[in-house]
Assembly symmetry: D2
Homo-oligomer: 129 residues x 4
């Protein structure tokens, strides 16, 4: 993660950022995620580029069907696209853990409990596909 | 390829089809897949429609990133798209087993052995994603 | 599917065997699987040995918990055992496809349709874990 | 989480516990995990009980092979056991995130970075099975 610049300006830099939390009374508890900066913010362009590549793979699959490519070769491409999506999800999750869950840890036990439950449900959904 | 006509008029309609096999000397062993008709032929339009929907989901993911949607909500959509792809792959595999593997079974033990190995490797790739 | 001719020449022995089918009136249609010989029969000892190794890994996990091993190291072992189980399932499936599905192909389109549906549901269950 | 007893004795009770970290100079940074208490400590008995059930399922699989049970029925049981193992791993991971990763967040950006990378690799291994 090359978040060096944004990290230099705040005491809560370590906590990173997350979305969906309300600003709290204690100014020391105001973190990037209170400002609406997401865990994936610094990587947004790279993420979108990655998704465009996956989108291209899905279009490639449609062409393969049109051109009557052999089933097994199509299945290989399906697995490659699935892997690409899973891998993208994993990176998003890593950034979420680094920023949002860490953020919650600074705020207190209730906040972390909620965020960890939420992240675990997301991991479960990734595993069940 | 539109195999609709061939579905109505021939004894081999039930056997479906597969790709990549060479016509053999014995006329009784000539099946649709020798004619280059694939297992997924009858469902081609439905498959392409399905892939277009997944393509739309991938574009939706890009919009979510642009609009700074919460990481966990993006992950939920990633899992939905992954599931859609896996499910598409599973249907393709079912048609492949029904047509190509069944076709091979008619041809003899060497043919079935090769096709089953190939299908198992494809299932393994699906499991490893 | 024109499987009638290939059924008459005794070549169906190669198709191996499968379980659950009732012997039929036509003696030429009696295959190993009608005799209650399963797809995995020839590998039974190797399979049981493999499962014993996985059983040992599960006991190893219990010891790791008792000995307060670090969570991540336990998770690594959990993944190894899961992979071992999946891999065992995949081998069983390959033998099933080779013997039972091939067997069904020799019997006719209805038989293969039923077996392929059944196998696909099993693959789906493997994917959903 | 019923961590009441062990939580009563420390200011950092909320952070939970983790293994493998060295006690640091700053007394305020001493957490349960510095004391060698793991994320899964409070659930240890439940975890071992759960693994014993999975061990029983693996033995059940061996019996099914011995008794020549139909391949597909064995595969169903393989999937159930795999699911049980994945589910156990997921619970372990949740506890790890709640205690160890939260612990690291309190310690600082380098600690959290290391723990999040480690947890992500573990999740990746779970996904790749």
């Amino acid at each position: 993660m090359s978040t060096t610049d944004s990290e230099t300006d705040g005491a809560t830099a370590a906590a990173g950022s997350c979305h969906g939390a309300e600003p709290q009374g204690d100014p020391q508890a105001v973190t990037n995620h209170d400002l609406g900066i997401h865990g994936y913010a610094h990587q947004k362009d790279a993420h979108i580029k990655r998704l465009r590549r996956i989108e291209g793979q899905i279009r490639g699959l449609q062409r393969m069907l049109e051109e009557d490519v052999y089933c097994i070769d199509i299945l290989t491409q399906v697995s490659a696209s699935t892997k690409g999506l899973q891998s993208f999800g994993l990176q998003l999750l890593e950034e979420h853990l680094r920023h949002c869950v860490a953020d919650a840890a600074v705020k207190g036990p209730e906040a972390i409990d909620e965020k960890v439950k939420e992240a675990t449900r997301a991991i479960e959904r990734m595993l069940r596909t």
